[in-house]
């Protein structure tokens, strides 16, 4: 479904601030695979997400989605195939517009936008029904401005908006990190449900190791722009946080102590 081959990207090349953000990344995601990505700050996780979404173009290497090469396709064109939820609950919705208007915009993602009403009666019913699955009571507040919702509600709505056109790929960028524990749990649960329901091919970045272990069927660990660990299937099910730390220590022994705080 998603194929990254030999992706490298360097920021500020030739200056003292030079940073090799991604180094020869090869990654293939099969249809329906749910991958969690962990790694310390600066490991290249966000850069990876931006390369996939089209926000950044790689220096070398290619990105293909469903066997189509999309390396240089601009973000707005690529996003017909990619759903994305950001870390910031403010980022995924338009605050001064209503819930139904936001849903209508997400609904037109993979269609050509026309000069017909965005929120028709028929769609309104569909949106209402769909919102009911969240169990947050949002279905009764279709005309409320999204700016009035709480962070958790907005993130749940963002998740719904990112997924209900069943994109080829779902990118989750630490989407529970800005929420309190109970809300984060709720969003995690909704994520699990929706990914399972549509069998979405998903890439989720997280700083929470337990979450990375609990969710998905494959785990990759990044460091210094490289994928240093890639575990899937049964092996992932048995993995513990201690295993991960041991593994990390084995591969990157020298700077383990400084990273322990970040990862733990």
């Amino acid at each position: 479904m998603l194929n990254l081959s030999n992706i490298s990207i360097t920021f500020n090349e030739g200056t003292p601030d030079e940073k090799k953000a991604l180094q020869r990344i090869n990654l293939e995601l099969k249809q329906g695979e749910f991958v969690t990505v962990i790694g310390s700050n600066g490991a290249g996780k966000s850069t990876l997400m931006n390369v996939i979404s089209g926000n950044l173009a790689p220096d070398v290497g290619d990105v293909s989605i469903a066997n189509n090469k999309v390396t240089f396709l601009p973000e707005y064109k690529r996003s017909t195939m990619i759903g994305r939820v950001f870390q910031d609950p403010m980022a995924g919705t338009a605050p001064s517009m209503t819930i139904e208007e936001n849903l209508a915009m997400a609904y037109s993602r993979n269609k050509k936008r026309k000069l017909k009403l965005g929120v028709s009666k028929k769609r309104k019913e569909y949106f209402r029904e769909y919102l009911t699955t969240l169990n947050l009571g949002l279905e009764d507040r279709l005309n409320a401005k999204v700016g009035l919702l709480s962070g958790g509600e907005r993130q749940a709505l963002s998740l719904l908006m990112a997924t209900f056109t069943e994109p080829n790929i779902l990118l989750l960028d630490e989407h529970t990190a800005a929420l309190d524990p109970s809300r984060a749990e709720l969003i995690t649960k909704i994520t699990q449900d929706v990914v399972q329901k549509f069998g979405l091919t998903t890439l989720m970045v997280t700083h929470n190791m337990q979450q990375a272990l609990d969710l998905g069927n494959r785990l990759i660990m990044m460091d210094k722009g490289q994928i240093i660990l890639d575990i899937n299937g049964d092996k992932k099910q048995q993995l513990t946080i201690e295993d991960l730390l041991q593994e990390f220590k084995r591969i990157r022994g020298e700077q383990f102590e400084s990273d322990r705080a970040v990862l733990g």
């Binding site: 979404s53 707005y76 064109k77 338009a94 208007e101 209508a104 915009m105 037109s108 026309k114």
Partner: protein, 328 residues
């Protein structure tokens, strides 16, 4: 007094179209577009020079709309493709248009004296209906001694401005319109839902300036001339209309905001007209009056809200203390 008020309402409604255009960029797209000062004159100039050269007033007005649309699109292009700051691209387009307008008009002023205009063409039709004497009769009943010579402009303009308002309301609810609003609200989000924000900005600024040019074309036909200087300070008048309208009539929904903006334009004209009748104020003071009006419209609602909040808090505190007294 009555006649000058009447004139203020007439031109206020025409300026309302310009204010709607400013609303579209300033509020909906969150794009402070200063092209307005130039595109207003472009509209007036294109319409006037076309009419002088024998084009029918309706076609001349259409040409003005197209010219304004193109001017706006170029500003949008400068900003999106040229990556020039929004304010600066508007300013650049505004000064470029000053020269272009001079070229279009071939002289600093084009007079429409004795030429056909939309309003003059409508006059015979309107006279046949005979509503003038009816409305003037009503005015005279209330003791007016001098009455307006015709009501056709007011009525025609109300119809036109309402049509534009409803079209704008509808457009902003379509799929394209929603994407346009989201572009002003959260670019990153709408891009992740496959909207080309660059094109939306270009078209949005284009439509806005098409409205401004239409307003300019109608003002030229209403006043009987187009002048290359007539657009100076237009953006401030547009902003004043938007801000005054929103402060007085609210902005809860798009439908309310658009009518409020038109109302703001009319009220702005009335206030300026009244202010100029005050003895110690001169024509040159108009810009100062505008500035003061906008400041009042911006500050007054905040003060009023703060007062309201304070009263609410005081009331709550009073309630609480009586409850405590009753309990003890």
């Amino acid at each position: 007094m009555l006649l000058s008020l009447f004139g203020a309402i007439e031109s206020g409604i025409i300026y309302g179209i310009m204010a709607l255009g400013v609303y579209l960029t300033f509020r909906v797209l969150d794009f402070p577009d200063l092209t307005v000062d130039g595109s207003f004159v472009t509209g007036a100039g294109v319409a006037a020079i076309s009419i002088v050269n024998g084009v029918s007033p309706i076609v001349a007005t259409m040409l003005a709309i197209i010219a304004g649309f193109i001017a706006g699109c170029i500003t949008g292009l400068l900003h999106t493709k040229g990556k020039i700051n929004a304010l600066l691209s508007g300013i650049l387009m505004m000064i470029a248009l000053y020269s272009i307008n001079l070229r279009i008009m071939a002289s600093p002023t084009v007079s429409l004296l004795g030429e056909s205009t939309i309003f003059r063409q409508l006059q015979p039709l309107w006279s046949a209906v005979g509503l003038d004497s009816f409305f003037n009769g009503i005015l005279q009943l209330f003791g007016a001694d001098r009455v307006p010579s015709t009501w056709v402009i007011v009525f025609f303009m109300i119809v036109v401005v309402l049509i534009i308002k409803f079209l704008t309301d509808y457009f902003l609810k379509t799929e394209v319109g929603l994407a346009l609003r989201a572009t002003g609200d959260n670019k990153r989000m709408i891009r992740s839902f496959s909207a080309n924000t660059d094109n939306l900005i270009i078209v949005g600024v284009g439509i806005s300036n098409a409205m401004v040019a239409l307003s300019g074309a109608l003002i030229a036909q209403h006043g009987g001339f187009a002048d290359v200087q007539m657009g100076i300070g237009m953006i401030v008048i547009g902003l004043a209309s938007v801000i005054i309208g929103e402060a007085l009539f609210g902005k809860k929904t798009i439908a309310i905001a658009t009518i409020a903006v038109i109302g703001g334009a009319v009220i702005y004209r009335i206030v300026v007209t009244l202010a100029l009748r005050v003895d110690f104020l001169e024509t040159g003071d108009m810009k100062l009056i505008t500035a003061v009006l906008v400041i009042v419209a911006l500050v007054a609602p905040k003060i009023m809200n703060a007062r309201k909040e304070q009263k609410r808090r005081l009331r709550k505190r009073a309630e609480l203390s009586t409850q405590i007294e009753e309990a003890s």
